[in-house]
Amino acid sequence: MTGQNANGARQATAAPDPQVPAIELRGISKAFGPVQANKGISMRVMPGTIHGIIGENGAGKSTLMSILYGFYKADAGEIMISGRPTVIPDSQAAIAAGIGMVFQHFKLVENFTVLENIILGVEGGGLLRPSLAKARAALKSLAEEYELNVDPDAVIEDIGVGQQQRVEILKALYRQADILILDEPTGVLTPAEADHLFRILRNLRDEGKTIILITHKLREIMEITDTVSVMRRGEMTATVKTTETSPEHLAELMVGRKVLLRVEKTPATPGKPVLEVDNLRVVDAAGVERLRGVSLNIRAGEVLGLAGVAGNGQSELLEVLGGMMPAAGQVLLNGQPIPLTGPHADGQSRRTAGIAHVPEDRQRKGLIMDYTAWENSVFGYHRDPAIGRGPLMRNAAILEHAQQQMQRFDVRPPNPRLAAKSFSGGNQQKVVLAREIERGPDLLLIGQPTRGVDIGAIEFIHQQIIALRDAGKAILLVSVELDEIMALSDRIAVIFDGRIMGEVAADQASAQELGLMMAGVATGKAA
């Protein structure tokens, strides 16, 4: 890619011809070994629009964008930028062609200021001062133009994720990007921050920028995009105008069958308290206080949803209750205190006491990826006298049992001899869920039940959680997906910075109110 060519591309979009697509892909294919990640994908993104790409995990969205950004080379196919055939061998070339990318995981230098991050890689000369001054001026005009306010002298690690994301967008704009690709941008944001982001994106579109938004959230697609393309199993199954479609229709296109998007449930009938947590405190290895006196309780037959932006202590709470982390304070299970430190504050003791745990990170914690499904079907319960004799395990019996379990939980393929790593995210989660639910625990801890899980499996997993509730069990649900919390919970508690900000009944909760609490603003109903 030569500089001339890049300039040409930029000039073309500076006065965009509304008839010529900003990006046109023709027959893009890409295989990784035997896996065909992209199959003959053709797509046109018109200038000055917000184009959504939606699909389940593993549908090929990220691969396609990585090809566009020069991370992968397509096996076949053609990329046209503003009508010109363009070869993008690396990210430098993508930037030169006017493409900017905002990754799901930010690529910022934590201890640099905003300004220093913006000029990183485009310092232009041996001395920093002139380019910093230039960037400062550019930043000021960008901020005014698009509502992209960030303090240029703030250090990245001191500002919130929403602001960090704005820095990523500014980086792209400072490099003259006309096409902006955002990969799952709202995953780490509070609802208010997401709203702000959408305002910024609309402003950018109105100024003639082209935006590609990759997401798996139907609500966002409906709210902000002009056009939406649906991917399924490496193919682009449809491209439709957003105004001419509905979430149900999109879900059907994504999964290939009709999907129930709402969770059907009756009102809860809570019984006696199962879990009572009082003044729980955790200090991590770095000396940071992760839980600052958390108190909550859950009754039999109800789901308590714990909402919060990731990293505010909900993971630690799950790990303390699951016996993976020591803590101070008091926890009663069915009125009996359970140990929070010492050798009996471990996963084995918790399971014996009646606490089951579906961990947030199933691939690193909930499963041994190299173990077969049948081996995983007793993971954590492998000391259970029933599955063996003395020190020996009855492998044949475990295998047979796992086979039945997989059929009951609709794990596909239902082959217990396959390694956990060869199942999809949703089926892995079903293996974990089956194991944890099966023994009828009094309390189920469940973290991010549907992260990385396809829509079809989400429906099933949600039904299982509600069924367990209706069987009179207590459930602590932790999720960063507010929609999921609101759909499943009977009561919702919000955690912020290691403290419970407040608690509301689920049928009276509004996303706005919860969003405020998630951002650390206490509301009238704070507990």
């Binding site: 996963g347 914690k365 173990y371 081996e375 954590g380």
Partner: protein, 364 residues
């Protein structure tokens, strides 16, 4: 989906690696002006051509069997036990103490006690590195290497001091009493009508080694403890989730590993030398690493690899005896085998995987 059939992974890859090592060894032999075909002939004849040769091959193999199993068990917990050498030395001390200071009516009882003593001393020598790793995070590779040196120095002191019989000239213990003499393969096979060389050192410990293989297999794939060891090896956070204590598993695994390494002493100390001499292990602890690598940490693989290395040892000694090929070249050949089967595994694996995938695609 698997990239290639299991038999290719288990059989074909080691075989090709071995072949490559052999070819390069042949080139080296050619380069120093000797005939590689003749050399190979000598090695095979020397190591496998007579019961005498077999007796030595199996004797060495027994040593490598124990140290190989020791490394393999630790591997399953992702612990790299480099200390087999020191643990085997201490095992020798355990055997010597049992044999010298307790009266034994029959060799079988003595063997049981000596096996226990060897395992106990070997395990004890692995305990400190294990606890340092589990509690303080001191890397087990570093500590076990250091413990090898400490073990060597400690045995040096014992064998020129407290354990040396008064007036003796060489640094070794007294000879073990006749009652603890272990039957050699010659003595075991004679009643069955099979004649086996009288002079070869292979003895009943070889059978103990085979038994150890079976027990290790059962431990790793049939017991709850083995399940925990493998789980911990695959993912420590997951082990913690399942309530498996990383400290406990690290220590237990290393005790088993050290015990197995120590048990080697029933072969070289009790079965062959019949007294404890200086540097009795002769590097078998390190060969165990190569044996475990080549055997893919599976007891049956370890068994085959141990026989192979036994063959290389004995064949190499013959080669040095009958040709101008220096003894050091044997070490080169062994090094090449280790290099190809261990370190350069992917060099063979990747093209082979691609080949199998291409074949599958053509069939599809």
């Amino acid at each position: 989906m698997e990239r290639m059939p299991k038999w290719a992974d288990v059989v074909l890859i080691p075989l090709i690696s071995l072949l490559l090592a052999a070819v390069i060894s042949g080139l080296v032999i050619l380069a120093i002006g000797e005939d590689p075909i003749n050399a190979l002939n000598l090695m095979v004849k020397g190591a496998l051509g007579s019961t005498y040769g077999w007796g030595y091959t199996l004797y060495y193999a027994t040593n490598f069997l124990f140290t190989g199993l020791a490394v393999a068990v630790a591997f399953h917990a992702r612990l790299f036990n480099i200390g087999g050498e020191g643990q085997a030395m201490l095992g020798g001390l355990g055997v010597a103490l049992v044999c010298l200071y307790l009266p034994w009516p029959h060799w079988s009882l003595a063997l049981l006690a000596a096996t226990g003593g060897a395992a106990l001393f070997g395990a004890a020598w692995a305990f400190l590195p294990a606890i340092l790793q589990a509690k303080r995070g001191s890397h087990i590779v570093i500590t076990t290497i250091m413990f090898n040196f400490i073990a060597a120095a400690f045995l040096n002191w014992l064998l020129v001091g407290p354990l040396k019989p008064r007036g003796a000239m060489d640094p070794s213990t007294a000879r073990f009493p006749e009652a603890v003499h272990l039957p050699s393969l010659h003595e075991i096979l004679a009643p069955l009508g099979i004649s086996f060389s009288k002079a070869a050192p292979a003895n009943v410990s070889f059978l103990v080694g085979i038994l150890a293989c079976i027990l290790v297999w059962a431990l790793i794939w049939r017991t709850r403890l083995g399940y925990e060891i493998r789980a911990f090896g695959h993912s420590e956070p997951a082990a913690r989730y399942a309530g498996i204590s990383p400290t406990k598993i690290t220590v237990i695994t290393m005790l088993i590993s050290g015990g197995l390494a120590g048990m080697m002493a029933i072969n070289n100390v009790m079965g062959e030398a019949e007294r404890l001499v200086l540097n009795a292990t002769e590097g078998a602890g390190f060969i165990g690493i190569a044996v475990a690598l080549m055997g893919r940490s599976h007891p049956f693989g370890v068994f085959l690899a141990a026989i192979l290395f036994g063959f290389l040892y004995q064949g190499g000694a013959e080669l040095a005896l009958w040709t101008n090929i220096p003894r050091e070249l044997i070490i080169v050949i062994q090094a090449l085998v280790i290099l190809f089967t261990g370190a350069l595994d992917n060099m063979v694996r990747m093209p082979l995987e691609r080949l199998f995938m291409a074949l599958r695609r053509r069939r599809a």
